[in-house]
């Protein structure tokens, strides 16, 4: 935990209200996000109990499974989920802009510029908690290998027509959610804890109701008390006043209300399905409201400057998935091959470094975290000395002496690189060439000054200018390319078998309850 984070948590505990951790919103928030609140059945991994979803807070759709152990009823639920979700997930496929992209020509091996489509927007899905994202992933996994009656007329239990397609979309969204800074699929608790610190532990922050109680405490009640009430308060029947945000339900609800209702349904008691439906709705509605309250809170923050750049990558990811579906590629494999896994990890590491840098550049409060850690420092230029590089074609390499502000103590040594954002956009790198006294550094600017013999105007600090220098790069470069999967070396098991549609999961006794 950073010092700022620890301080904010202590202040929150002392004052009874959450403290901001950011001055801007660091994640994209769509104009019309789809909120999805899923519930699962206790003890039945992957058996959905119900879901509330929609883009209109006043008109959620609600689907429930009156007996989660009945596969036919589960399929009915998934079919309705597909009918409700797919129109949203497919809604941005056809509005495109054209962008130029570098590509290696397969015939000549040369880098050529090609025109590519890029969807102008992408649908966003919000779930309450981190485990909610896991449920999306699990639903995707359970659906994408299913075969419909059309694909396999012999299948004893064919999936409803659009269910495998929804599985592929959910798989894509859940996989994208693992990329740092991505915003296609987000959990509300992650969003809120990124922007506010509460006076409770990170574990307790996973309870959406308790988290909101700190960020927006009901009138006059201290956050700690409001959070405790949200977590623990029960009515005269022993039921929680604020049901958990899922995907798990409260055991007292399961035992005292849900189980008897399911038993009545199994016995064929008239009206039992409606009773189960209403019971599940009672658990979902408070979370539905909490989700929109969270959306409102997040909208109160202005969007961070680099957020749109990162959202553009989400749009690219969405467009790529659309293209894979349109070219009838098989579903995402169960396991990544060695090259795909390594590429994904490399991409995520680059995005993480980029996110860390961009959040700091967009937000002085985040930059303060880095400054306190000695990873950045604010400094005024004291003295600027023109200099040029040695070599055939001399280029400007001015020496700038800067004095760090009083409390900045960067962990710097001679030869280290430091970076700053240029006023006109772009970044500039400098090398530390000396530290004549504590807090004073002589920096040699090495780029960002244009191509001329003299530095372009505005690219060299003037004495008195204040800059925030960072020890981290602002736009971290990616690594070298990895081999193609068909060139996987012997150390990693050699090339994987050709990508074909994997067989569906075999039916197990659990499927036939």
């Amino acid at each position: 935990m950073s010092l700022i984070d620890a301080l904010a948590r202590m202040e929150a505990a002392a004052t009874g209200a959450a403290r901001p951790l950011a001055t801007v919103r660091h994640r994209h928030l769509a104009a019309r996000p789809l909120v999805l609140v899923p519930l699962t059945t206790a003890g039945e991994t992957g058996a959905p109990l119900g879901a509330m979803l929609g883009t209109d807070r006043a008109a959620p759709e609600l689907f429930t499974v009156p007996q989660p152990r009945d596969r036919d009823l589960r399929f009915t639920f998934l079919e309705r989920l597909a009918e409700a979700l797919l129109p949203h997930l497919e809604s941005c496929q056809d509005e495109v802009e054209f962008v130029e992209r570098k590509e290696t020509d397969p015939d000549t091996g040369k880098r050529v510029t090609v025109q590519a489509e890029l969807c102008t927007d992408a649908p966003q899905v919000l779930v309450p908690t981190g485990p909610g994202i896991d449920v999306v992933r699990l639903l995707g996994r359970s659906m994408r290998f299913r075969r419909t009656a059309e694909e396999d007329p012999e299948a004893p239990h064919p999936a409803p027509p659009r269910v495998p397609l929804l599985g592929r979309w959910l798989t894509h969204y859940a996989e994208r959610a693992r990329v740092p800074g991505s915003s296609l699929l987000l959990s509300m608790t992650d969003l809120l804890t990124r922007h506010w610190a509460t006076g409770q532990s990170r574990l307790e922050d996973q309870h959406l109701g308790a988290l909101l109680a700190w960020i927006a405490p009901p009138d006059g009640i201290p956050g700690a008390e409001a959070a405790r009430r949200a977590e623990l308060a029960r009515d005269e029947h022993g039921q929680l006043l604020v049901p958990p945000a899922g995907p798990a339900t409260d055991p007292a609800f399961d035992n005292r209300l849900l189980a008897p209702a399911l038993a009545r349904h199994d016995k064929g008691v008239p009206g039992a399905a409606e009773e189960v439906h209403e019971l599940i709705a009672s658990q979902l509605r408070p979370t539905w409201e909490a989700m929109w309250q969270g959306v409102d809170l997040l909208r109160s923050l202005p969007e961070g400057a680099h957020t749109a750049d990162r959202w553009r990558r989400d749009r690219q990811s969405y467009t790529h998935h659309r293209d894979r579906l349109r070219s009838a590629e098989p579903p995402q494999p169960r396991r990544d091959d060695a090259v795909t896994a390594a590429r994904k990890l490399a991409m995520r590491e680059q995005r993480q470094a980029e996110l860390d840098a961009q959040e700091a550049l967009d937000d002085p409060l985040v930059m303060a975290v880095r400054r306190l850690a000695g990873e950045a420092f604010a400094a005024r230029a004291a003295h600027v000395e023109p200099a040029v590089s040695e070599g055939k074609r001399p280029t400007p390499r001015p020496l700038v002496t800067v004095r760090a502000e009083e409390h900045d103590r960067p962990l710097l040594a001679e030869g280290d690189a430091v970076y700053r954002a240029l006023p006109e956009g772009g970044g500039q790198r400098a090398e530390v060439v000396g530290a004549p006294e504590p807090g004073v550094y002589v920096l040699r600017l090495v780029n960002g000054m244009g191509r001329g013999k003299e530095p372009a105007p505005g690219t060299v600090p003037e004495p008195g200018d204040r800059d925030c220098w960072t020890l981290f790069e602002h736009a971290p470069r990616g690594g070298p390319a990895l081999p193609e999967p068909e060139e996987t070396p012997w150390t990693h098991g050699g090339p994987p078998p050709e990508a074909t549609a994997e067989p569906p999961d075999p039916t197990t006794p659990e499927d036939l309850l």
Partner: protein, 479 residues
């Protein structure tokens, strides 16, 4: 998955003389390395077991057999050190140093070797017997310029995806590394691949062995660095599957002080460490910030007295008593800010500290201590990550769990403690707040167990308990 093949080899352990045991192991390794029918050979090397010597010898024998080879190391310092060793061992051997195009990409000391050629382009080094570079730089070399043979150094610190990027460049390879040091890690979430054969965040060796379980595996059985007082503890705590022993006996090395003790706890623990090889200076229990000012002051006081009292070391090398100079002393910490605080507290005594001249950032684990030149470089102060592979006479460590309210995975990591407790030839001093055993008891490991994962190192929690139990007998309380 592969644990069974890591069982100790009884034959090597049965050889009485450490030198003979090590020589036997080396001969077997070289025989497999030169055997064209074997695609890969894995060698586990405990701290100070002569890994670099083995790499240099294997490289020279392969080159002498007419098989040009590439050598892959993990850091530029390791590459420079290897090239220097190769060129020193055989001044006529054509060695290429492939480096990045950044400024100061390699150690200019290499320029003194006439047969060493340096370049940022692999094409410039074509035809050299041996070309050495980092894994990161090799990854930019296009396949096609194939070497038949490769040596991968520090293979346990190399990530599986880094090996994937370079493995297309060679047909067969010798993988050498220390399984007990810090595991490679990823800043991004890689848990979805945990336990899979090609988990990109796992070590190169675990992926290699998962896909090629039949490869011959060897180990170097003798640590020449660690004294007889340290090898059994480090072996038991960190290398339970690949035990090793010290190359020296209990009386072969000694550390004595010329200056008398002043009666302080600091001097007392120095005397304990000089006599036994271990010393724990225990501060009163407290929860502190990471840069605990009292602990930092205690570390600085230990180093200062260590040098003021003019230690004299004797070793099995028989080159007479040598003064314990600042460059033979290191301070190890878990975090960078802790190292910075210690450097500040040491002032001009510290390498790179305020007021001290800054020299090359890495000297590698050279066999001979270049001590004795008065006014030379200062005490090395760095994190465990940066002390990996280095060797000193005396080390002082700030215990990773000192003053902490919790025991996180980072602070419990086996490799971190192993690096900090296995850098010394004579003695290791530990500065720690009281109460760490209780802290460990309160914080059992909570990381989820993942199916199919295998680690060559034991659990950090257990390793910490073993080290603390040993240190308990060498504890001096700061009053």
């Amino acid at each position: 998955m592969t644990a069974s093949v890591h069982l100790p080899r009884q034959a090597e352990a049965a050889v009485g003389d450490p030198g003979a045991a090590a020589a036997l192991a080396t001969e077997r390794i070289l025989a497999d390395t030169l055997d064209e029918s074997v695609p890969g050979v894995v060698v586990d090397s405990p701290p100070g077991a002569g890994k670099s010597t083995l790499v240099v010898r294997a490289a020279r024998e392969l080159a002498a057999a007419g098989r040009p080879l590439m050598v892959i190391a993990q850091t530029n310092a390791q590459v420079d050190d290897l090239v220097d060793r190769l060129a020193s061992a055989d001044p006529d051997l054509p060695v290429g140093r492939l480096h990045s195009s950044d400024a100061h990409a390699y150690d200019p000391a290499l320029d003194r070797h006439p047969a060493v050629r340096t370049s940022a382009k692999s094409a410039d080094l074509a035809g050299m017997d041996i070309v050495v570079s980092t894994a990161a730089k090799w990854a930019w070399v296009k396949p096609g310029e194939q070497w038949r043979c490769a040596i991968v150094d520090e293979a346990y610190q190399m990530r599986s995806d880094a090996l994937l990027a370079v493995a297309g460049l060679f047909e067969r390879a010798l993988f050498v590394g220390d399984p007990g040091q810090l595991d490679p890690f990823s800043q991004a979430d890689a848990t979805q691949w945990a336990g899979q054969a090609h988990d990109p965040a796992a070590s190169a060796v675990s992926t290699l062995l998962a896909h090629n379980p039949g490869l011959p595996q060897h180990r170097l059985p003798v640590s020449w660095r660690l004294p007889a007082s340290a090898a059994p503890l480090v072996s038991e705590a960190f290398y339970p599957y690949t035990p090793f022993r010290s190359g020296t006996g209990p009386g072969d090395r000694s550390l004595e002080f010329t200056g008398p003790a002043d009666g302080s706890a600091v001097d007392e623990v120095l005397d304990v460490a000089a006599a036994s090889g271990w010393g724990l200076l225990e501060l009163p229990a407290a929860r502190t910030p990471r840069t605990d000012p009292e602990a930092v002051a205690a570390v600085a006081a230990l180093v200062r007295r260590l040098l003021e009292r003019e230690g004299v070391t004797r070793s099995e090398r028989g080159d007479g008593p040598a003064p314990l100079t600042a460059d033979r002393v290191a301070v190890g910490t878990a975090h960078r800010d802790q190292a910075a605080a210690v450097r500040a507290a040491l002032g001009p005594l510290a390498e790179g500290g305020p007021g001290a001249g800054r020299s090359g950032d890495h000297e590698g684990d050279r066999e001979s201590g270049e001590s004795g030149e008065g006014g030379g470089p200062g005490v090395t102060v760095d994190t465990a990550n940066r002390l990996q592979g280095r060797e000193f006479d005396v080390t002082v460590m700030l215990h990773p769990l000192s003053g902490r309210p919790d025991a996180t995975e980072f602070h419990l990591e086996t490799g971190r403690l192993c690096v900090l407790t296995s850098r010394h030839r004579h003695a290791c001093l530990v500065v720690c707040r009281a109460g760490v055993p209780e802290l460990l008891d309160d914080h059992p490991a909570t990381e989820p167990a993942r199916l199919g994962t295998w680690s060559p190192a034991p659990d950090g929690w257990e390793a910490h308990q073993a080290v603390l139990a040993r240190l308990a007998g060498h504890t001096v309380r700061l009053r």
